[in-house]
Symmetry: C2
Subunit: 82 residues, 2 copies
């Protein structure tokens, strides 16, 4: 298992409720792919959302996001952390 | 105080030691700006580093990174989190 940071662009004006709903949609289906979405951070002004996950692959992360209705624009494995 | 996610590009091949040293350099000067760098994640393959901080402003985040020797390429306030 590895950690991934994925990024969504174009989410201008996203609200706290919408971020919560999107995260819940990920959590509802992530188990099938052995993915876990740990945290997410959103900047409504620039429309950017960052999601931190633990997963077997970037493809697995994208499959969960796709099934939840919000494909990621970038997915980076982040093997280093402090 | 608010939370910020900043992004550094072009850090291809960054090592665990280099990430640790960069984070320590931030911690050494952040107090002057009332900034705290909480976490950082690095993808050596794409050369991307993400830093999560609590700070009074994006400018304060940039001043700390600049004094530590590594200006951020993007800084986004992230008022929403899950």
């Amino acid at each position: 298992m590895a950690h991934f940071m994925d990024v969504h662009h174009g989410m201008h004006g996203i609200t706290a409720d919408q971020l919560h709903e999107a995260h819940q949609a990920d959590l509802a289906v992530e188990g099938d792919e052995r993915v876990h979405f740990e945290r997410a951070w959103a900047d409504p002004a620039s429309g950017t959302v960052y999601c931190l996950s633990e997963a077997p692959s970037a493809d697995a992360v994208q499959r969960v996001h796709t099934r939840a209705g919000h494909r990621a624009d970038e997915i980076h494995e982040v093997p280093l952390t402090v």
